[in-house]
């Protein structure tokens, strides 16, 4: 299981880091000793042996890590679900920091409330002004709670629509990042029209004349994901998943047993590769072995290139061509 593999790898990471520090210290002491001729020949010899010992231990540990990661190259769907939900996975704020400049946050639906589970605003991507927004989860339990685990209420969807309407008005492309367990199933959320808010977003997003690109970065679950995901291009990180609902929900509806979620994940065809095969996802973006949380820089680099290429392509379309391109994509499904 990827969980155990990651635990092992993280353990090795720590050991390697500690040992690297030790080796570094030893080597700098050695250099100093050699420079000042302070230590005796025997002492230097001994220190050199220690350093050799460190280095060979390091090699062994790195070999073990490589070996452990090799077993994480091919993952089962439920393992991908685990990675998609990993708390240290890059989130919307990381993507905004890593890929955009001049970010100006826009808050609130300007109707009733500020929903923190949706984060977005205006920014530049490769110098081009765009509207960027997405679900926000946070990297700590405290932040998770503050952002309601990335589960928006109607106010969040209306905020997203407000930002997107402005993008349409000013001709800015829209880039959305999808990472949500779904729309929040709460009492007030229902009273305030969860269904209506999602429906409005679907209807209005279908009409935009500006390019819309959606990137599924973690878990894309249900209408809560789709509500910011009606796009010309749907990109997915390699370990992201996209489905009608969580495997747990699926298992409990179909078999009245949420414990069968692994089995459900397999049947649901929810991985990036599955969705690519189904013609829903347009491109899968590679992640470091073991998951995106292992190397943010690599993820940003991979995503930046793909995103820019798709945006450039879409910006060549006329406004009405852009709208038709998006409508055609959904019209063809089913």
């Amino acid at each position: 299981m990827i969980k155990e593999i990651l635990e092992e790898v993280e353990d090795l990471d720590t050991k390697i880091k500690t040992l690297e520090r030790k080796a570094m210290k030893e080597s700098s002491e050695l250099t100093m000793a050699a420079d000042t001729l302070e230590d005796s020949f025997d002492e230097i010899n001994e220190e050199m042996e220690t350093l050799d010992e460190y280095n060979s231990r390091l090699d062994r540990l790195k070999e073990m890590r490589r070996y452990a990661l090799e077993s994480a190259v091919h993952l089962a769907p439920d393992e991908k679900v685990f990675l998609a939900r990993h708390m240290q996975r890059p989130h919307i704020d990381d993507f905004i920091n890593g890929l955009f400049t001049d970010f100006f946050e826009q808050k609130g639906d300007h109707l009733y409330d500020e929903d923190l589970s949706i984060y977005g605003g205006i920014a530049r991507f490769h110098g081009i002004p765009v509207t960027v927004l997405g679900h926000r989860k946070g990297h700590t339990m405290e932040d998770n709670m503050k952002y309601n685990f990335g589960m928006p209420c109607p106010e969040g969807y209306r905020k997203a629509l407000r930002l997107m309407n402005a993008a349409e008005k000013f001709g800015r492309p829209i880039i959305t990042f999808i990472d949500t367990p779904g729309a929040y199933p709460g009492l007030e959320a229902e009273e305030h029209g969860q269904g209506e808010a999602i429906a409005q977003n679907l209807a209005k997003m279908s009409q935009f004349h500006v390019p819309v690109i959606a990137v599924v970065t973690g878990e894309g679950s249900s209408g809560g994901a789709l509500a910011i995901g009606v796009a010309n291009r749907i990109l997915m990180l390699e370990n992201a998943v996209y489905s009608i609902l969580s495997p747990e929900g699926f298992a409990s509806i179909l078999w009245k047993d949420a414990e069968r979620h692994k089995e459900a994940a397999k049947l649901m065809k929810l991985t990036a590769d599955d969705l690519y095969d189904a013609g829903v996802c347009d491109e899968v973006i590679g992640e470091p072995v073991g998951g995106a949380q292992r190397d943010y820089d690599e993820v940003m680099h991979n995503l930046d290139g793909v995103l820019y290429r798709h945006l450039k392509e879409l910006m060549k379309l006329s406004p009405s061509g852009c709208k038709h391109d998006r409508q055609k994509k959904y019209r063809m499904i089913g």
Partner: protein, 283 residues
């Protein structure tokens, strides 16, 4: 159960009504027992009351074809894409057999019935989701039939009436089911822009992806009394918030009070209300 289903699936099931299915339950075919109050009444009385319980007023689910027969001028409606069958895009285990069972039970090919016909002399496009077929869940074929019906209304500049009833997504069709929300909503928005009138009529139960797409996008939103209408199901909400939900939560009356329904319309007034609204929107 079967007694009720047979009673209401007029006219396709009229023959089956006398086929002995009712007798299997040890029940007389002349009576219907109300699911809500458990009291019995003559089938003819139920029928005259549009299958609303004459004792307690409970709204029994009715079949799509029967509902159409209640609203259209007699003999004026023609089904669109009648033969369109459910697909199995995910090759989901046992799905085909399950669909076959639904087909057998209802006499329908899918959960959506779409038609063109006249109401009070006015030509309209009408969609009815049938809750007896897989809980009216949104399959790719349901999405496709609904979308095509909306497109006909757009092209021919006809008013559009959609009776929603749905348990949500069709699990067995996965992401293809989800994407129908985007497809149908886009079609509604195009229809909207063409200036057409869309009356969304919410019936029991309207939940999940149907609530979060075309059902919530009407120019006029009507609802049958007591219908459950919401995005998340009440059980999921209770599990999430660890609280009991207030009485009447997510029922039509609750939605009306919270600003999402124009009017709750009884089944017996359904046709007259629709005619009035269509006439009011004539240019």
């Amino acid at each position: 159960m079967s007694a009720l289903i047979d009673a209401v699936s007029f006219p396709a099931r009229a023959k089956r009504d006398q086929s002995g299915l009712n007798l299997k339950n040890g029940e007389s075919p002349d009576f219907i027992t109300c699911k809500a109050c458990n009291r019995r009444a003559l089938r003819t009385i139920w029928k005259d009351n549009y299958y609303v319980c004459p004792e307690c007023g409970h709204y029994s689910s009715i079949g799509a074809i029967y509902r159409m027969s209640l609203i259209f001028d007699p003999g004026t409606f023609k089904e669109l894409n009648k033969g369109m069958k459910a697909k199995d895009p995910m090759k989901f285990p046992e799905y085909e057999q399950k669909v076959a069972k639904q087909r057998e039970k209802t006499g329908l090919e899918e959960a959506a019935v779409t038609a063109v016909g006249r109401i009070g002399g006015n030509k309209v496009v009408c969609v009815v989701l049938d809750s007896r077929f897989f809980m009216g869940s949104m399959s790719s074929t349901v999405g496709e039939k609904v979308t095509r019906a909306i497109e006909v209304a757009t092209r021919k500049k006809l008013p559009l009436i959609i009776f929603s009833a749905s348990g949500g997504a069709r699990m067995q069709e996965g992401i293809f089911s989800l994407m129908q929300m985007a497809k149908t909503s886009a079609a509604i928005e195009e229809f909207n822009k063409s200036g057409g009138l869309y009356i969304s009529y919410l019936t029991h139960p309207t939940t999940g992806g149907v609530t979060a797409s075309f059902a919530s996008l009407g120019d006029i939103t009507l609802a049958e009394p007591g219908a459950l209408v919401g995005f998340a199901g009440p059980r999921v909400i209770e599990q999430t918030i660890h609280k009991k939900l207030p009485a009447g939560f997510q029922r039509s009356e609750y939605l009306e009070a919270h600003g999402f329904v124009d009017k709750i319309v009884e089944r017996k007034d359904m046709r007259e209300t629709l005619i009035k609204l269509i006439e009011l929107h004539k240019k």
